[in-house]
Symmetry: D2
Subunit: 367 residues, 4 copies
């Protein structure tokens, strides 16, 4: 058991604080002989990186990843892969004033109550900076998931949702919000500019989708694929809700309305009329796309003063200056993709260990 | 790693199929010298048991639990606690017709694709019958959580939500739905009767609340309390969504609207104006009530025929006869409470191991 | 983490006390579609069972195992296998006099210091009775290890060692000591009769050998096959030492004397001139036989009074009556075999997860 | 599960190869507010470091450790501690000739059979260089073990054992062999010089002792303290045997001879006449010193040519040049101490989680 590790067989342990010398992770259990260099990882980090638009924090970090172990001549060796990013832009002075004060909505208070000590600089360990290592590890996980496509998009900003009929994956890479609906992206630009000017912030909902996943990943009871996806996404900073497939809307449907009818494709694969289930039945993947969504609360650091307390038990007002995202949900898109990749890579190895001869497509008859 | 174990230090392993000779679990890591007999567990099982009203499956199981190990003269000994319930009402003949057919919305297909074999009788391992052991183990977990109150309620059936202003915990025990709003309970009775007559089914949303939880439970990054709660609740049969505190609604709030302002109580404890966070900040409990909700899909077994396939790759129609709940969400209430208890007991031990001198109340100054 | 589980992917959790209603275990992670009934397990239990000769405890237990879950129509289903043996001969009255006294060499004192409570009847959880479940689980592990032969023998009783030149595996099943040397068996019969008459006891050394093991099992650093074998064997009751291959004798050899030279077999497999390494290099199996030995101390329960203390802090004399083995090492033979099987089955699954295309024989070239 | 992590609650994950840019580890689960800087770790690394005498490898590494995370203002914060040592003296050219050849007694062959790829430079991941991180992590573990003294000594080199009557802990730091017997140290100097000249090598036995350990560490069945010590020590490079207390010699004792009689000290603590058990009964610490020994085989790299094979399946002769220890057992002394520290720190946290009010001394009455 580790509080800083994720996964069982494809296992990632991250370390590092926002304002320490570096952050890093160890990826243990990666299969050998996969092609892997920094160039496979860097593009995913660049996509998540702050400082790319006026809508995300202006902290400037090159976020240059280095592979310190686990590869030889460009191939993984089966031994632990150590990844490291140096922290180069740390401006610790910005954070002096919150040294003794607990910012509402942040982990400041709970860290102090738990540990009796905290590195207050930039949130220390609880900083979203740690998610850079999840994205890096996720890039390694994608190598394990040959044939699987994992993509994410922002489907709601504040109260404004995308029009699913207008969904275009190509649009996601064209705007600063990972928004699949060009009209929504235009509206959001105005919303976010307004929030930024007023020192306010906005929440968001992200959808992540994995296509090409083998059936059979996941397992009964406490190894359920959807339960692990839920933990993975809920564990991203500021996330307050997770749903799979139809999600909370399923509660309002009838059994008939929610049924995923099945039929046979001419090539012998099982297809589903709908995918209300989001690609998981009984905790095990069906071979249909895996669809999950998660809700990110509005950034807690805002310019409006809020009542709080300090570590001496005095009531104070807190107003967060410094460099922050008005909508942290935007940067959560690549993080959500990475977490989904980590869950799937781990479950692929777990499935294979117990079921080495299971089919990689939903074909019948099974035997 | 185990696909059938839950928790790390307070660890539960369940076993058993719906129509085997028995189901059971092993609770490992329970602290010694807690008073524990079958009488501490049985009431929780009775509350979950089928056959109590016309709204839940008519399968009649006494669900009499036996403690086979881990206690001595009425006290836990620190060694593994084995709990067992015999299956007494198994009517295997009811299930013959689904032997070769995959019921839509069930785990039939995915088990066959994964394992190449399945015990089709009553869903085998994927049957909700397994949740009886979660409830039993949860009763043991409650013993560990001295001073903590864990309760649950159905807050939505189909599209109909309770009026939170009318919430009365006492009402929960008065109706067949664990409904805290007496007016809603009356409406639901009509809805469910109608669904039952027409062979249809309804979804539901359940809320579970833990009061009296120490601050400091949970840990950064991958040991987050809310992430583990998400996994625990998503892992309950038929659950498609989980949220903590404000949940998905947080996405539509502004940073100001979602802020949990803090103040000092006269006794030196930190109090929160609101509890949008649901009792968890940065993955660590604040000392406020922990509030989580989860959505249960409508029962997949309905009387309307649905298109499906059989294990030979032929298209068929499936109509589920047999004894089923028109709203499985009802029985998920005690299961949700139990899962929350399991998460909290495990995290209490994990917290204590690393932080033996941490405060049990949110008092400042910490040192 | 569990104090009562063994293995990671092929994972066994045992429960039960010597004088409770039953003992049992849950085997999680077993691959599906292996033929398994009670008849596959019972012979191994019968081999370990007390009461078979005058040299082992006269406690009469039929030790009849029942499979309660995880199989369907004689095949494993991939779900957890629950095994149970009822305790039928419990004579609790024999143990009243050690209720408050700590027997030297037993776990009585340490359980009380740790837990503040103990089930003193027959040693409770620390009784060797628990090893019956290891043997049962080991029988399941053997099913996973197709093509692997696992055998054990007593190679030393008290100070008297077998003559390795006289080794005959057939002899092992012919005497009451699992002794591979017929002459030694005859000597031991006299020794043990003498020890028994005088109320004394004898230690022993057991050797276990696995032939037909694939190369590649085990992993660098903390997943070493030999480290896991060491833990498995040291964890057997009364064991004080473990060695692999040449073992402690290797310390006295020169590098030349200990070198395992290699050559190519005509069929392309790598063979070793000697097997000083005991089948493991760098923590990974070589494909040669895996050879391990472990030392069992003389039974602590003897008829000569020994100085001790009671739980009130008073000095007392303790003399153990009741039914005990004069040489517990004898019954440790099938237990050692079982533990080796459990380690190998777990590592086979672990290896397969990360290296699905690794060769199952030590053939070169690898690619 | 991870092949490169050790421990459960105090958990260490190491990474890095002999000739990569760096090696490192992550220590997760360390309690907060312990004083920790590089100066607490460096002395232990210096003690293990190569190049200190003519008897250990002449590789010159400053082995300067850096703490990259997990501390703040000189105190641990409860978050993961990342330690890193750069590899500065890598001379890769030395190893070209073993690129395609498998050195007898090394992990070269098994890595290739398992992974189909290996970093052959200096043994890659299987190099003893990795043990530097165990020593570094062990230094952190010692911080957790307040009041515990952990020491080690070489008690046998080749066939020559120390005289236990001449044991002096002070001597250990005075010679190049960690030898507690000054006369033996003088003999060993001659032996090792001779071995070095002839290109041969010697094995060794190391004893590690922990004093001041609380009773109650360890747990029944599969969480046994001695089983975990066995795994920890057997997992050190080149170790072939492990024993606790009397060890293999216990097999030759009678029950009377091996009994650890107990009496009460005037201060209410339980004392033992002897400590044949080595401080562990039933897998749980007694409060007496914990005593373990392990056997290290002679260095496999010798100057005498040995028959082997290459990766193309050709028979070859291998002679290892390069910088190597004639007796790797010497450097295993600080590694053994570190591993014992890691086991004890982990078990202290595990014990505390389940038994927060257990006594820290072996005092009776317990309640």
């Amino acid at each position: 058991m580790s509080h800083n590790s994720f996964g069982h067989l494809f296992r990632v342990t991250t370390w590092g604080e926002s304002h320490g010398p570096a952050i890093g992770c160890v990826v243990d259990g990666c299969p050998p002989r996969l092609a892997l260099t920094e160039a496979d990882i860097q593009p995913f980090l660049d996509r998540r990186r702050p400082g790319q638009s006026k809508f995300v924090t202006q902290r400037q970090e090159p976020d240059q990843v280095r592979i310190l172990s686990g590869t030889f001549e460009g191939l993984t060796t089966g031994t632990p892969i150590s990844l490291l990013i140096e922290n180069t832009d740390q401006r610790s002075k910005d954070y002096g004033e919150i040294k003794d004060r607990y910012r509402p909505g942040h982990a400041d208070l709970t860290y102090d109550l738990k540990y009796g000590i905290r590195d207050y600089r930039g949130g220390g360990r609880s900083s979203a900076r740690e998610t850079a290592m999840r994205v890096a590890a996720g890039a390694v996980a994608r190598k394990v998931l040959e044939g699987v496509t994992i993509r994410g998009a922002l489907v709601q900003m504040g109260p404004d949702r995308v029009d699913r009929a207008a969904w275009d994956w190509a649009a996601v890479e064209e705007n600063a919000f990972f928004c699949p609906d060009r009209a929504a992206a235009a509206r959001w630009e105005a919303m976010l500019t307004e929030a930024r000017k007023s020192g306010s912030s906005l929440g968001a909902v992200i959808e992540v989708v994995a296509e090409g996943v083998s059936p059979g990943l996941g397992a009964p009871i406490y190894g359920k694929l959807d339960a692990d996806i839920a933990a993975a996404l809920m564990g991203i900073n500021a996330v307050k809700g997770v749903e799979i497939g139809e999600g909370f809307a399923a509660a309002a449907l009838s059994g008939e309305g929610n049924a995923d009818e099945m039929r046979m494709a001419p090539d012998g694969r099982v297809l589903f009329g709908d995918n209300h289930a989001g690609g998981v039945l009984g905790g095990i993947s069906t071979g249909q796309p895996i669809v999950a969504r998660f809700a990110v609360k509005p950034t807690s650091s805002i310019l409006t003063p809020r009542k709080s307390v300090d570590r001496f038990g005095q009531e104070v007002e807190v107003l967060t200056k410094g460099r922050h995202d008005p909508c942290v949900g935007i940067r959560a898109v690549p993080v959500g993709e990475a977490m989904l990749a980590l869950v799937l890579a781990d479950h692929l190895l777990r499935h294979r260990a117990q079921n080495p001869d299971a089919p990689t497509e939903a074909r019948l008859p099974r035997n």
